[in-house]
């Protein structure tokens, strides 16, 4: 390779008091390439990119841009050098239009109106040439997350970025939006002038989109590989330093009586549109029912309705045979229901509470945690220490605020609280979202352990692989209806994909019974 690489980061060291976030990391990005930066949460990916973008100053090493050593002291300098970054959390002003957002902060040469007209045209040009469809006059607040991300990309390109850093860009997107983003990414690098650094911890995406991949682990670069010459198993091993179980071995299910039974349920979403539309399903003791589907097809509303956070409009929900349709979360406490919510920071945790305060969220009313209305701190602390140990929560102690933990450890806190009550029914919504491989595997193992214990599990996930691994039966949801219930060994991912797209499977009624129908009435209640 005689060609000078676009970017070389050599022996980058970045330490924070007490931590080495980047330990002599090397990264080389070529012109026209999509370079994936792969690693678990906390492996040092974001730190490295923040060094490149001028947000952090490295303690050692150097950065070469097209062969020339550069010092980048601020994002402004990075932008001047043609480096653009799209952060995980967008930096947009919702009430302003796309055009206003793009030119915000840029010095205007002439009057505002003139600048706007000109900017509008250039935005349109950029949008057309890379397939970044946006309406330049739409207020950003009205756009979907996927389109907002396009605005961020346009913002970077408008400022002359040729090296684009995308920090976990797919985390917030639906599968269709992810495909759209990938198309845009390919067009961006097509002419060989630009390059993209794609930060991710999702193996499928890295395999699908990148030309080369650099794996980080514990702040060190462990390998840089041609994507075509590697595979997911190798990448996963490099990432976590151990073999990851992609096929989890599990004993055959021994389904017992029905624990959760849903009949013709209708639930409206926040915009008052029916999101769950006449849905029926049942989950039995000792089985995992996987609920597959594209995000936004009513999964959230269904989970919230079962957990008592959203009152259904019609239909019934029965737990252990009792009608709980109109009960709220407080009433449901006595049904020993575990709910792992989709948004753990918003609902699953109180971030400003300590771990021990979070652990007792559903139990504080009872001894030993409280006696006659007074909290018993020694018992609470003791309980918290036990859970921290049992669920391997990486935290300095029970009196640390939940806010201070990493995403994976926050999820462990939620799991610890929900699963330690030995629930009869578990509703798990996107439990592995945003987690790295190790933490996701932990979640899956916990679900299997609960199944073995005899819990009924409704496992909602966007990740097909996970659904296949865990489920005893798979129900597919599309626009709030069940498209069919199938067994994982009797269906291909392609067939499942068709069902997720809304094509009902023949001969698979919504209430198909598990392998050995127990003495119940499979058709549900009359």
């Amino acid at each position: 390779m005689g060609e000078t690489p676009f970017l070389r980061m050599e022996e980058i060291v970045k330490t924070f008091p007490g931590v080495v976030a980047n330990d002599r990391v090397n990264l080389e990005v070529r012109h026209g390439e999509i370079h994936a930066l792969l690693g678990e949460n906390g492996a040092g990916k974001s730190t490295l990119m923040n060094v490149l973008y001028g947000l952090y100053q490295p303690n050692g090493g150097r950065i070469l841009l097209e062969g020339r050593p550069v010092a980048i002291h601020s994002p402004e300098e990075a932008i001047r050098l043609g480096i653009g970054m799209v952060h995980q959390h967008f930096m947009l002003v919702p009430p302003l239009t796309v055009t206003e957002n793009v030119i915000l902060g840029l010095p205007g040469a002439r009057g505002i109106l003139l600048d706007q007209a000109e900017a509008r045209q250039r935005i349109q040009e950029i949008a057309d040439s890379y397939g970044l469809e946006v309406d330049p006059d739409a207020p950003v607040g009205t756009l979907s997350v996927g389109v907002q991300q396009r605005v961020e990309i346009i913002k970077a390109l408008y400022r002359g970025a040729r090296l684009l850093i995308l920090d976990e860009p797919t985390a917030v997107l639906t599968p269709q939006e992810i495909q759209g983003l990938f198309t845009v990414m390919r067009r961006l690098v097509a002419d060989g002038r630009n390059a993209i650094v794609f930060i991710s911890h999702k193996l499928d995406e890295v395999m699908a989109i990148s030309d080369r991949v650099t794996v980080l682990r514990n702040g060190k670069d462990v390998a840089t590989l041609e994507t075509q010459a590697t595979n997911k198993a190798e990448l996963a091993r490099l990432m976590v330093g151990r073999e990851v179980l992609f096929r989890i071995e599990k004993p055959p299910a021994e389904p017992g009586p029905v624990v959760l039974e849903i009949q013709d349920l209708v639930v409206r979403d926040d915009r008052d549109v029916p999101a769950v539309r006449g849905l029926s399903l049942e989950v039995r003791r000792g089985e995992i029912l996987g609920l597959a589907g594209v995000d936004g097809n009513g999964q959230r509303e269904l989970a919230e309705a079962i957990a008592g956070l959203r009152i259904p409009e019609a239909g019934t929900i029965r737990i252990q045979g009792q009608d709980v349709t109109r009960m709220d979360a407080g009433d449901l406490l006595r049904f020993n229901l575990a709910y792992i919510p989709e948004d753990r920071q918003r609902e699953g945790l109180v971030l400003d509470f300590t771990l021990s305060e979070n652990f007792i969220a559903k139990r504080f009313r009872r001894p030993p945690f409280s006696v006659r209305g007074f909290l018993r701190h020694p018992a609470i602390l003791d309980f918290a220490r036990r859970l921290i140990r049992r669920f391997d929560v990486r935290a300095p102690g029970p009196e640390v605020e939940a806010r201070k933990l990493s995403g994976g450890n926050q999820q462990k806190v939620v799991l610890a609280r929900e699963l330690s009550q030995e629930p009869d029914l578990i509703i798990s919504a996107q439990a592995t979202r945003g987690l790295d491989v190790g933490a996701a595997e932990f979640v899956e193992q916990q679900m299997l352990a609960q199944r073995a214990r005899g819990a009924a599990v409704l496992y909602i996930s966007n990740e097909l692989e996970e659904i296949f691994n865990l489920s005893d039966r798979i129900a597919v949801i599309h626009r709030g209806e069940i498209m069919g219930v199938v067994r994982p060994d009797q269906v291909t991912p392609e067939e499942l994909g068709l069902m997720m797209a809304g094509i009902r499977r023949e001969g698979a009624p919504a209430t198909e019974s598990p392998a050995e129908p127990v003495s119940s009435n499979p058709g549900g209640h009359p």
Binding site: F16, G330, K404
Partner: protein
């Protein structure tokens, strides 16, 4: 293994202790900084800051009489500061402490002037009615927020006017004493808070304030009710998820807050003023917001902040006569202290982040 965890825990608890220390020190530093900047103002006015501050401190604590007066001025601020703290912890911003304390005083003055009961009972009834008056005035916006999602800030502000003018109506009309003065009769001896030590004006309201302070602390941090209140304030979605009746808790926090504010007016009435007049309060209900914030929503902090504001108000007059600057300088000092406190919180966050990184 265990020793490692133990070591990590002890390190963590050391960091926690640091954090608490910083938390305690911040208001003190903010106050010092406000005096420092305030001295620039004084200097610009051609006044020696040293002379001015000396007069201020002497005016606030110079002798027993002045120190007593400082404490007396702090008492309503303690009650009202606790009121704002309790509501704020529950996620409700109570701007209505002023109205609540007026209504509390109104109920108490009625009991004190229109009922005839023997000593401890008359006092207790007057206190209870004072609490009730504040509670009603707090519960209304709490209920409206909880069930109708009406903004409590607007409702409480507007209800302040209703309360203040309602008191005015009673002072000019039904409860007005015979004669020329627009004031109520003085409450009966049997309904007054007795003095703590003969020869001073210090009354039993001080004890009551300290009891309330401990009560608020215990309720917030050692009861399931306080746990619910704090959870609703910290994350209402998380609280709903945990099965807490959030609307009910918000309304309750507001009612309790109103009760405390009602006590602020009641204790002032039964311990110091004895008669209700127009503009009975110099704005304790609003100063209480500053007291709660400077006290960092912590009962002990509220005590310190209330004493500080009480001292400022009390020392102001002495400073005015000693160096002939207007009392408004005191308001400038108050304002600066709040600005520095807020600025301090952001520095505090930075220190915290640094501590976190150091721990990791």
């Amino acid at each position: 293994m265990t020793t490692v965890t133990q070591a990590r825990e002890s390190q963590a608890s050391r960091a926690l202790r640091w954090e608490r220390l910083i938390n305690m020190l911040l208001p003190v530093l903010a106050i010092l900084a406000s005096f420092l900047i305030g001295s620039l103002f004084l200097w610009a006015l051609g006044v020696s800051p040293v002379t001015a501050y000396t007069a201020l401190v002497k005016g606030a604590f110079g002798n027993q009489r002045l120190a007593t007066s400082t404490i007396l001025k702090s008492i309503p601020l303690i009650f009202a500061g606790l009121a704002v703290t309790l509501a704020y912890r529950g996620g409700v911003f109570n701007i209505g402490a002023e109205g609540q304390l007026y209504l509390g005083a109104l109920f108490a003055v009625w009991a004190g002037t229109r009922l005839a009961l023997p000593f401890p009972w008359h006092l207790l009834v007057a206190l209870a009615l004072g609490i009730l008056g504040g509670m009603i005035w707090g519960a209304i916006p709490g209920y409206l927020k909880a069930t109708r999602d009406m903004n409590e800030i607007i409702v409480t502000i507007l209800m302040n006017y209703i309360a203040i003018f309602t008191v005015s109506y009673f002072v000019h009309g039904p409860l007005k004493e015979e004669g020329w003065n627009t004031q109520t009769d003085a409450v009966a001896e049997t309904a007054r808070l007795p003095t703590l030590w003969a020869g001073t004006r210090l009354h039993y309201g001080v004890i009551l304030a300290l009891i309330c302070l401990v009560l608020v602390y215990v309720v917030l941090f050692h009861t399931t009710l306080g746990y619910r209140i704090r959870m609703v304030g910290a994350n209402i979605h998380g609280a709903r998820y945990a099965g807490i009746k959030t609307t009910w808790i918000m309304a309750l926090a507001m009612a309790l807050s109103g009760g405390l504010a009602g006590l602020a007016g009641t204790v002032e009435l039964l311990g110091v003023q004895y008669r209700l007049i127009d503009n009975f309060s110099p704005g304790w209900g609003f100063d209480a917001i500053a007291v709660a914030l400077v006290g960092r929503l912590n009962p002990i902090g509220v005590l310190i902040a209330a004493l500080f504001f009480g001292a400022l108000r009390n020392g102001a007059n002495s400073m005015q006569t000693a160096v002939r600057v207007d009392v408004v300088v005191i308001y400038i000092l108050q304002g600066l202290a709040i600005v520095f406190l807020i600025a301090g919180s952001s520095v505090d966050n930075r220190i915290r982040r640094w501590l976190d990184a150091w721990q990791a």
